[in-house]
Amino acid sequence: MKVFARQTLLVCLFAGSCFAAAPAPDPAKPGEELFRLSDVSGHYGGHLTIGQRSEPKTLNPVTSTDAVSREVIGRLMGDLIEINRSSQQTEPALAKSWKISPDGRTFTLQLRKGIRFSDGHPFDAEDVVFSFTVYMDEAIDSPQRDLLIIDGKPIQVTKLDQYTVRFALPRPYAAAERLFDGLAMLPKHLLEKPYREGHFAQAWSLNTPSAGIAGLGPFRLKQYLPGQRIVLERNPYYWKVDRENQRLPYLDELVFFFVGTEDAQVMRFEAGETDVISRLSSENYNLLAREKSRDGSQLADMGPSLEYNFLLFNLNDLGGKKLDEVAGKQVWFRDLKFRQAISAAVDRESIVRLVYGTRGAPLWGNVGPGNKLWINQSIPHPPQSLETSRQLLKSAGYSWNSSGQLLDPAHKLVEFSIITSSSNTQRMKMATLLQDDLSHLGMQVHVVPLEFRALIDRVFQSFDYDAAVMGLGGGDADPNPEMNVWAATGTSHLWHLGETQPANNWERELDQLMQQQMVTLDYAKRKQLYDRAQGIIAENLPFIFLGTPNILAGASARVGNFHPAILDPYTLWNADELYVRGPATERAGTR
């Protein structure tokens, strides 16, 4: 081993010029308007390794759909306005300031001057207009296009001068500046040609040479080895500086390894081969916690996430489909007292203890304790009470036969299935616990694990299911991304898809509240509206809420400025601030 290392060193020193060292940060140019982070400090050098469960599929910010690709793309790209994951508030990024018109429909953004892409090419309003043109192009069908369509009309983007851009919304939209986070600014000088030639979707695939990709993020592409790893190196022109006016990022390189499975992620982190790990399950977190005292790794339990898991009943209109059995059971599901009885029977405390290993929180509404800005604190949190359930069922006309089985008012045995994704062990566990709870009420419940896409097909397409345990949320703390779940005609209105108008009074009221809060610009007024909406949801139980996991992340001892957050990307959102602790850098030939 030692001989091996010595040989490596010798070869490195000789070949030092042959393989490029990470670029040093470019000295600040006059007229370059940099973003100073006054509370950030660290020192240069070194690299950090992250294990990813699978391989990124593309580096194209407009067409990428999977989380793994976005994890890498996010480090290469910059946005006009960013949401600081720690504070959950927006802060200026490539746009150094912006003005909102009094009616809330026009945003005028001032761009920072003198900023360059990672290949040195200057950035200005042309790139911004080009980027939005691409995002909103109907032929490309970017998933981000829908963010920019409000009320069926696209946002108008106009260049006012070289560093000023105006965005005109068809109508006021609350917290509109949050839309800009995640909309990467594209280099017109590299991407205009593929766009005009009509093969934009094939641009920036993984085979693209590193010179063909340029972005405004803290890193740029250095190397990609298929199936093995992606190596990012420092962007020498990155426009953020730290407290001492040193240009960020501190790291020379950021390496993403494709390790294959979640278990492999944990094992490699345990062995010290990777430096950062996020979205740990509670079992793995506890496993790592046992080793913590030995190796000094930093484990963080960030508290409840924004995700909410729930039991969903099939309340869709089944006319035309041959689903008589399900239709027969819908008589029970549509009865509010039935749903209330089930909600009262759920042992949420056990869910938190057994499914999340105590690292989670029970939920009675769609907004959990992790969302401090928007949670309605006055929603009741009743503990499990089988007695309450029985009373509710009795008052709805249900009864029990001699074997203790539950009969509906028509003396039919109450029996139904809960489907859930077989790849999500936590939701399967919740379903099993539910099944046991409901058996105490005399209900015959079956847990049916299905492959993920088969589940989606039943919930969205065929409607051939009774009930499902699913999860939503987690994207942003703001209520607006959830519009399609709660609006009556929304496309994620899972319990009753395809509505053309609200099905009943509370849906109507909920719909109105959500539409109103979407256009209310004042936070206090919005909060009132959304509180009322949460109340309606918690009273009428379109979903029976179960629980939410905590966000668990970890970093090795050598990672500095490690500040995980409960918003995605949990650990790498401040990749530009991360640095390697310790006196010297490991790689020979770096400086």
């Binding site: 490596t8 695939s205 199936g227 345990e270 779940v485 994620s492």
Partner: protein, 325 residues
């Protein structure tokens, strides 16, 4: 010659059949590639429908198959939806790595199992035999995935082997010999797991068939006549006992591309395994079909070699073929 020609025709028919059934099966399975986006409240069904149309997913089955067939004849296996890149280069770059892994495992497996099977059969009931039987029972009953995870854990904790990927981060700076060394260290764990699991099966079969032959009259007679052990083994026992072993070799060859899938995923080896597994689960249609076509080629090749070996090695079959012609 006519035999090979017949096999070629059969191979083409098989590939046609497999490709058609592939498409049919994919149609049977519920769900499609863009389903994950439906769960995102911020993406509209119009966008999803537009994407589906872009990749031709809304076309009827026959149309899609026809188009694929046409381009396949020009060696263009279509596009991967996830990677937005052509299928053939994606597959071939990974297939190389898989062949390296499974080829090495195959070689080692047979180098170990043949002698071991013969030895335990000839010294039946001995200590080695009993140990081997116990070990193979254990290896066969525990699912391969559990074995792989357990061995991975041991390897990672002991820091003995390089785990994950095919090369280390500083591979550019190494000489050719050191690079080979590096790859070998990364190869060690997945090969070990594969060899362990496959040897168990093959040893059992070799042992059983050698035992069977050892008990036949002509072998016992040869023994009594004083024929030496080695001559007995190589000239009399092995050729006759070879049949199941050859069929198994055929299976090993046939599974060169597909057999190591789970091990590659668990160990992070950059082969076809992780690529195909993810493509299959996410319904990345053309990538899956391309992968299956490639594996089918190996399947055909492996069985062909096995059949040829069967005819040449086993004197009884050879004689029958000679008699027939």
């Amino acid at each position: 010659m006519s035999y090979l020609l017949r096999r070629l025709v059969r191979a083409i028919l098989l590939l046609l059949g497999v490709s058609a059934l592939c498409f049919v099966f994919t149609e049977m399975a519920p769900g499609s590639f863009f389903d994950e986006m439906r769960l995102n409240p911020q993406i509209s069904p119009e966008t999803i429908a537009g994407l589906r149309a872009q990749y031709g997913l809304d076309q009827p089955l026959a149309v899609r198959y026809g188009r694929w067939m046409k381009s396949a004849l020009h060696a263009d296996l279509g596009y991967s939806i996830a990677y937005n890149a052509p299928v053939a280069p994606l597959l071939l770059s990974r297939a190389k790595n898989t062949l390296l892994l499974s080829g090495t495992a195959l070689l080692l497996t047979w180098i170990i199992s043949l002698p071991l099977g013969v030895w335990t059969a000839s010294r039946r009931g001995g200590l080695l035999d009993k140990t081997v039987t116990l070990l193979t029972s254990f290896l066969v009953s525990v699912p391969e995935l559990v074995i792989a995870v357990a061995l991975l854990a041991v390897a990672v904790r002991s820091h003995l082997l390089r785990v994950g990927g095919m090369t280390s981060s500083d591979v550019e700076s190494l000489s050719a010999f050191q690079r080979a060394q590096d790859i070998a260290l990364h190869l060690a764990l997945p090969v070990f797991i594969l060899v362990l699991c496959e040897t168990a099966v093959i040893v059992r079969h070799v042992r059983a068939s050698v035992l069977e032959v050892l008990g036949t009259p002509f072998v016992q007679a040869a023994r009594r006549y004083g024929v030496s052990r080695t001559r007995l083994l190589f000239r009399h026992v092995l050729p006759v006992a070879a049949s199941p072993a050859i069929s198994l070799l055929g299976f090993s060859l046939a599974g060169l591309l597909s057999g190591s899938l789970m091990v590659e995923v668990v160990c992070g080896w950059p082969g076809m395994g992780p690529l195909i597994l993810e493509a299959t689960l996410s319904r990345d249609l053309y990538l899956v079909v391309g992968g299956i076509m490639l594996s089918a080629l190996f399947m055909i090749g492996g069985n062909l070699i096995a059949d040829i070996m069967l005819f040449t090695v086993d004197p009884r079959i050879r004689k029958a073929a000679a008699d027939a012609s």
